[in-house]
């Protein structure tokens, strides 16, 4: 019995050692988890863009307004950069428009009179996690240190949004990613491993056909996965889709996201010869893209270097677009940039996949 066990141990261990790439990835993964997960989740939220404005029909800025704005500007996390990026508006309507379009996360409206009986009105983007309460406590702190005891009247412009609703949108994107990890690229590698590829590389089929075919089927699978989770999300978390137009817009975002992420994974697969290596790379991508997508935690809470990744992360745009539609009821005007970024990304990934696919056996 021992002899057999030793033989099997040796065989397995020999194979393990003969594949340095997988060894490296097994070491690399936990370290990446530590760095990315730790930073993405635990970061302190800084540089929240907020608008401050004084009520209409004012002649000069009240002392309260001046001192509170100064206070908000200097508020900082301990040892960290400033908490708020304060923009002073002169027009309340414009400030609110910017809030609706996601340019600022909150609007603080100070009363035009000096009287402390008038409330300071606070409008916050309640679709963001953590940010509303942060803004609220910041404003209260600023008022207190200015010696004013005005009431703060809080308006959550998207109503009460629970964390599960915030997170649920991220899970839709996660479903898409999971599906592309399992399908899409892996089929390409399976063909290579099983030698099936030798059968069709000798036919006139073009490598662009092979890649586009794989991306096409992978995209549909990912889209269906995302769609099902979207429906589950509606049922479980109680999000409400305002109109048929919004519903269709969600489908469009799901489709383009599926296309982008599938293209990326198929492109990665076009260079790999075995499933283990591919799985390691897929897990790595999955981690880094999902963690930095803002699905768990607002992107503004991430350190700067990690925030750079979000710029090239298709999942960030997907999460942002879905949140805009589902939680804020915003339309094409707001998510246009997200869609454009996703399309650019997909095109790039498809071209990469086609050009790197090996048309020969070597």
């Amino acid at each position: 019995m021992i002899k057999g066990a030793v033989a099997i141990f040796k065989r397995d261990f020999k194979k393990f050692l003969s594949n340095p790439f997988v060894i490296l990835m097994t070491m690399f993964m936990p370290i990446m988890y530590l760095i990315i997960f730790g930073n993405a989740m635990g970061g302190t939220i800084t540089h929240v863009p907020i608008a401050v404005v004084q009520e209409e029909s004012f002649s000069t800025s009240t002392p309260l307004f001046v001192s509170a704005v100064d206070m908000l500007k200097v508020l900082a996390q301990r040892d960290n950069p400033r908490m708020f990026d304060v923009k002073v508006y002169t027009d309340e309507a414009k400030a609110k428009r910017d809030l609706n379009n996601g340019i600022v996360k909150a609007v603080v409206v100070f009363p035009s009179t000096v009287s402390s009986s008038d409330a300071v009105r606070l409008y916050v983007d309640s679709s963001e996690y953590m940010i509303p309460s942060l803004v609220q406590s910041g404003v209260q702190m600023a008022l207190m240190s200015s010696g004013a005891n005005n009431r703060v009247e809080i308006n959550k412009i998207y109503g009460d949004i629970k964390y599960i609703q915030f997170f649920g949108v991220g899970v839709i994107v996660m479903a898409i990613f999971m599906s592309t990890m399992m399908g899409g690229g892996i089929a390409l590698i399976k063909d290579r491993e099983m030698g099936i590829i030798e059968g069709y590389l000798v036919t006139p089929v073009k490598r662009s056909s092979i890649i586009l075919g794989m991306i096409g089927s992978g995209t549909i699978r990912a889209f269906l996965a995302g769609f099902i989770i979207f429906i589950v999300d509606i049922l479980i978390t109680g999000i409400i889709i305002q109109s048929a137009e919004d519903f269709l817009l969600v489908l469009v975002v799901l489709f383009i996201t599926s296309l982008g992420v599938t293209s990326l994974m198929v492109s990665a697969a076009s260079r790999f010869a075995n499933q283990q290596e591919y799985a390691a790379v897929a897990a790595f991508f999955s981690l880094i893209l999902f963690m930095t997508s803002g699905a768990f935690y607002p992107v503004v809470g991430m350190p700067d270097w990690l925030r750079w990744i979000t710029i090239i992360n298709p999942e960030y745009y997907a999460v942002d677009a879905l949140r805009s539609i589902i939680l804020r009821g915003q339309g094409l005007g707001v998510i246009g940039m997200d869609l454009l970024a996703l399309l650019l990304f997909s095109t790039g990934a498809i071209i990469l996949g086609i050009t790197t696919f090996r048309r020969t056996l070597e």
């Binding site: 099936i196 030798e198 590389l201 000798v202 036919t203 006139p204 048309r359 056996l361 070597e362």
Partner: protein, 356 residues
């Protein structure tokens, strides 16, 4: 087992630096010119194909015969554009292999050594998938698939997954799949490896049928009976080199000993043996186990003389058999080893073409 020789006109002139065949229909459908393939390893390079040149004639069944690891599959993979040669070149029809791989892919059919069927799909789906890849027109595809399934007796299995098929059924399916688009050239890499005798015969039958449709067939094998039965011409390869190439009959003539004649006789007379030795066509005479073993050039011509000698000495003959040397005998003679890889010690020294 005589096969018709393909219409063999004179070989085309070999100019230096030919690029593409300038003639409309060259007699040679494949021309291989000093082809070499070296696989780079971490520690050492392996030369799988070593400076090989030969031609394949239009419409023939051409056999690449050699032991495992001789470089047959590599050669096929280069010709089917799956690999690029390290040096040298080759033309398939009018197309150079590295410059016009796509043209070549549309005129060849390939059945690789290892199964490339998708076993999770049905027989029909496999043929349909492949048919679409090789651009069989949609209107003809269904008819063609059923025609091929009939050829292989797999009609009743059409809708079953290939994973339920036996090795022979899979092989037959794969061979006809390579033929779905009526290719000009069919490459079969070890078509009968691992099949039982019955299945092998069926595959052979199929290959002969396909050849009747004017398709050039190139097959690799390490079974000499297969090469003998099917091929018009045979190329011997060993260790990446081309050792000899000729028709089956001509290859047999390479053995100086010629045909082998066995005559059963209960008794033998020394005088008769001596007289047999005197015949200039006879190279060796041996009597053992109540049989006379005679090696002679042109055995059928010398046989009457032998019979006459034995009758003169009143020796009763119980049986006479005469057989030409097999292709395997020739291969052993040329390389000093058997086709299935085992070396034999008492082999004749290698012929001049062999690499040192």
């Amino acid at each position: 087992m005589e096969r018709r020789n393909s219409p063999c006109l004179e070989d085309p002139p070999h100019g230096d630096g030919q690029t593409t065949g300038s003639r409309n229909i060259p007699d040679n459908i494949i021309r291989i010119d000093h082809l070499t393939k070296i696989f780079g390893g971490r520690t050492k390079n392996v030369t799988a194909v070593n400076d090989v040149s030969f031609e394949v004639k239009r419409g023939e069944i051409f056999g690449l015969l050699g032991p495992n690891g001789a470089g047959k599959s590599t050669l096929i993979r280069i010709l089917t554009t799956l690999m690029e040669p390290t040096s040298g070149t080759a033309f398939v029809d009018r197309y150079e292999i590295t410059r016009f791989p796509e043209k070549i892919r549309s005129i060849i059919g390939v059945c690789p050594q290892n199964s490339t069927l998708d076993i999770e799909l049905t027989a029909y789906d496999n043929l349909e998938f492949y048919g679409k890849l090789v651009n069989v027109p949609g209107s003809e595809l269904d008819t063609r698939i059923w025609q091929l399934l009939r050829m292989t007796d797999l009609e009743d299995r059409a809708r079953m997954r290939v994973e339920t098929f036996s090795g022979g059924m899979r092989r037959k399916l794969e061979i006809v799949r390579a033929f779905i688009h009526h290719p000009l050239i069919l490459f079969l890499d070890e078509p009968t490896i691992g099949l039982d005798p019955e299945a092998r015969r069926e595959v052979w039958q199929q290959i002969s049928t396909l050849n009747e449709e004017k398709t050039t067939i190139i097959l690799t094998t390490h079974y000499m009976d297969e090469a003998e039965k099917l091929c018009n011409r045979i190329a011997f390869v060993d260790k990446g080199r081309l050792i000899s190439l000729d028709t089956t009959d001509n290859l047999r003539k390479l053995i100086p000993a010629g045909d082998l004649i066995e005559i059963g006789a209960d008794l033998m007379n020394n005088g008769a043996l001596a007289e047999l030795h005197e015949n200039s066509l006879i190279t060796s005479v041996d009597f053992r186990d109540r049989k006379v073993f005679i090696s002679a050039k042109n055995g059928s011509r010398v046989l009457p003389a032998i019979v006459a000698v034995l009758e003169k000495y009143s020796i009763t003959m119980t049986s006479i058999s005469i057989r030409p040397p097999t292709i395997e005998d020739v291969f052993i003679y040329l390389t000093g080893k058997k086709l299935d890889g085992g070396g034999i010690s008492n082999a004749k020294p290698a012929a001049g073409e062999r690499s040192p």
